[in-house]
């Protein structure tokens, strides 16, 4: 009997996604009706619920998928199946505690980690348990690691570090120096994102190598080159979040230099266009394949946007507007979520070889998801560009006049947000049911 813990992680992750999207929808509604419910559930209550839930979706689904690949696909004997269970229980209880702390305003933390800081302790313990289990298992079973094993290991280690770094503000050494403190805060959140990207991108390479049945994708020198490039950016690229902060200029110079290395990624995507995912075998994994195709498209769109506003002269105008939100949701939904859905479809196929993934409604959901996300993304870009115009060019009118003028774009943001929510729910529903079936006693 294989452990069911990985499936529990996946169900937990999908629940977090569902709730997270729901909170996102209610939050965006307040852009349209600012006074609505503001005394009881203001935007500031909903935003942490949204952001923490959807980030948990990414992290939990990645964790569950990795556990699944190790035990069900690679068929390794885990160093300790018990630790996986403990890991799950710790995360589940912490998740509940986080919701309580949001609901009852125990929110002493900062953006992305707004909950009471003590809750970081169990989260860290969970990551350490994951790390122990992961490294012990891989070390024993694999010689000559393909790149995804390196990426997952890196993701786990850096996750632990940056989760701690995000709480350095608890020490006066940081806290009393506002600029230093603020830049370390954004350093840590930037690299925190880099850490989960290591997990998720590792999953995408794993999927490609398995779907194509071609292990070379994950062992060739180019794959390793991009892994090291990603790691360098994770470590040193964060300061493009703080170009306008009066830090020492060298910190920003370094970030500018490092960020520009990502042009190599863009060039390689264009150069390899035909050779990449497009050749993936479609027959066995139609939906996993389609989601990876969507990933390709969104990587392309997002990397152009990110490269442009990593140039300080452009960042100057886009920073502090919804263009940043377009980037964060464009990448977390367009790239991370599509890869993870691809993984979910791959996993369901492993559990039920006869599971028909590309049902009519699932395909429709996928198409409407892709289109909605595009309009959602464009609405945010336009709203951001208009705010930037107000900030730097026209400079007239009050903040609230500017916000009122943006209402049409916020309406479109809200409506296509609902569309994303509905489409993804339709796609996820049969998967959720299938996973639920597996854990029935």
């Amino acid at each position: 009997m294989k452990s069911k813990a990985p499936i529990y992680f996946l169900l937990f992750a999908m629940t977090a996604l569902f709730l997270g999207m729901f909170f996102g929808m209610t939050a965006s509604f307040q852009y349209l009706m600012p006074e609505f419910l503001k005394e009881n559930i203001p935007f500031s209550k909903l935003r942490p619920f949204h952001v923490t839930s959807v980030i948990s979706w990414i992290v939990l689904c990645a964790t569950g998928s990795i556990y699944f690949f190790l035990t069900y696909v690679e068929k390794f004997k885990l160093f300790s199946p018990l630790l996986v269970k403990i890991h799950f229980i710790i995360f589940l209880l912490t998740g509940v505690a986080i919701y309580f702390s949001f609901a009852f305003d125990y929110t002493e933390g900062r953006e992305y980690f707004a909950f009471a800081p003590v809750l970081m302790v169990p989260i860290l313990i969970g990551w350490v348990l994951f790390g122990i289990n992961y490294f012990k298992t891989i070390y024993k079973n694999v010689k000559g690691w393909p790149v995804y094993y390196w990426m997952w290991g890196t993701g786990i280690v850096f996750m632990c570090y940056h989760l701690m770094e995000a709480h350095f503000w608890l020490f006066d050494f940081f806290r009393l120096n506002f600029i230093k403190d603020f830049s370390v805060q954004w350093k840590s959140t930037g690299s925190f994102t880099g850490s989960w990207n290591m997990l998720v991108y590792g999953i995408s390479i794993y999927l490609m190598s398995k779907i194509k049945k071609d292990s070379n994708v994950a062992t060739n020198k180019v794959a390793f080159f991009f892994y090291f490039l990603g790691l360098t950016n994770l470590m040193f690229g964060w300061a493009h979040h703080t170009y306008l902060l009066p830090t020492q200029p060298w910190i920003r110079y370094v970030a500018y230099g490092i960020s520009m290395t990502e042009w190599i990624v863009l060039t390689s995507i264009i150069y390899n266009w035909k050779r990449s995912v497009l050749k993936v075998e479609k027959e066995n994994h139609p939906m996993a394949y389609r989601f990876l195709l969507a990933t390709d498209l969104w990587i392309f769109i997002n990397i152009i946007l990110a490269l442009l506003f990593s140039i300080p002269a452009i960042n100057f105008f886009t920073h502090g507007t919804h263009i940043t939100v377009a980037h964060s949701m464009g990448t977390t939904i367009g790239i991370n979520t599509t890869i993870l859905f691809s993984a979910l479809f791959f996993i369901v196929h492993q559990l039920y070889p006869n599971f028909e993934t590309d049902r009519k409604w699932v395909k429709r959901g996928f198409v409407s998801f892709t289109i909605s996300l595009f309009i959602f993304f464009v609405s945010l870009i336009i709203a951001g560009a208009k705010r930037s115009y107000w900030m730097y060019v026209s400079k007239d009118g009050s903040f609230s006049e500017m916000q009122d003028a943006l209402i049409p774009y916020y309406i479109s943001f809200f409506i296509f947000g609902i569309a994303i929510f509905v489409s993804l729910s339709i796609v996820a529903f049969p998967l959720f049911k299938a996973f639920l079936q597996k854990i029935k006693p």
């Binding site: 500031s44 120096n177 506002f178 500018y256």
Partner: protein
């Protein structure tokens, strides 16, 4: 494919060493403009700013949530300042909830925003955009 992981471990070791050194320097580098450390009242104000999640609607240096305006220089902005800030806390305009802060708490929040204001300028209208794509920001108290 060879099973030799040694070159990869070597690259990682070098990167980690650089990372360690870099972190050490970053953690020990103060902002470009010398300012006093946050006073106990300002730290208190910062805690209120966090507990009440002002950051989820407001930005400092352009980072935060986007439903409300940026507050970096609200303390010194023309026609704004301490009383203006307190008035907003009392009334709650548009989506901003009404807060029931004590006088002391309001002072602490103002003190915090004052300290933030001293560190720099945002939006930085006098920044110089250079042909290399670099932006030379104008620092507080710089002529």
């Amino acid at each position: 494919m060879s099973n030799n992981s040694r070159p990869y471990l070597f690259v990682i070791a070098i990167l980690l060493a650089l990372f360690g050194f870099y972190n050490y320097v970053v953690y020990n580098t103060d902002g470009y403009v010398a300012v006093e450390k946050l006073s106990p009242a300002a730290v208190n104000g910062q805690q209120l700013f966090q507990s009440n999640r002002c950051w989820s609607c407001h930005q400092l240096y352009g980072s935060g949530g986007y439903l409300g305006p940026d507050l970096t220089n609200i303390y010194s902005a023309e026609g704004k300042g301490p009383n203006y800030i307190k008035a907003f806390l009392n009334s709650g305009v548009k989506s901003m909830p009404q807060f029931n802060f004590s006088e002391e708490e309001k002072d602490a929040l103002v003190e915090y925003l004052k300290r933030v204001d001293e560190t720099g300028i945002y939006p930085n209208y006098d920044a110089e955009i250079e042909a290399t794509g670099w932006v030379k920001i104008k620092y507080k108290n710089e002529k």
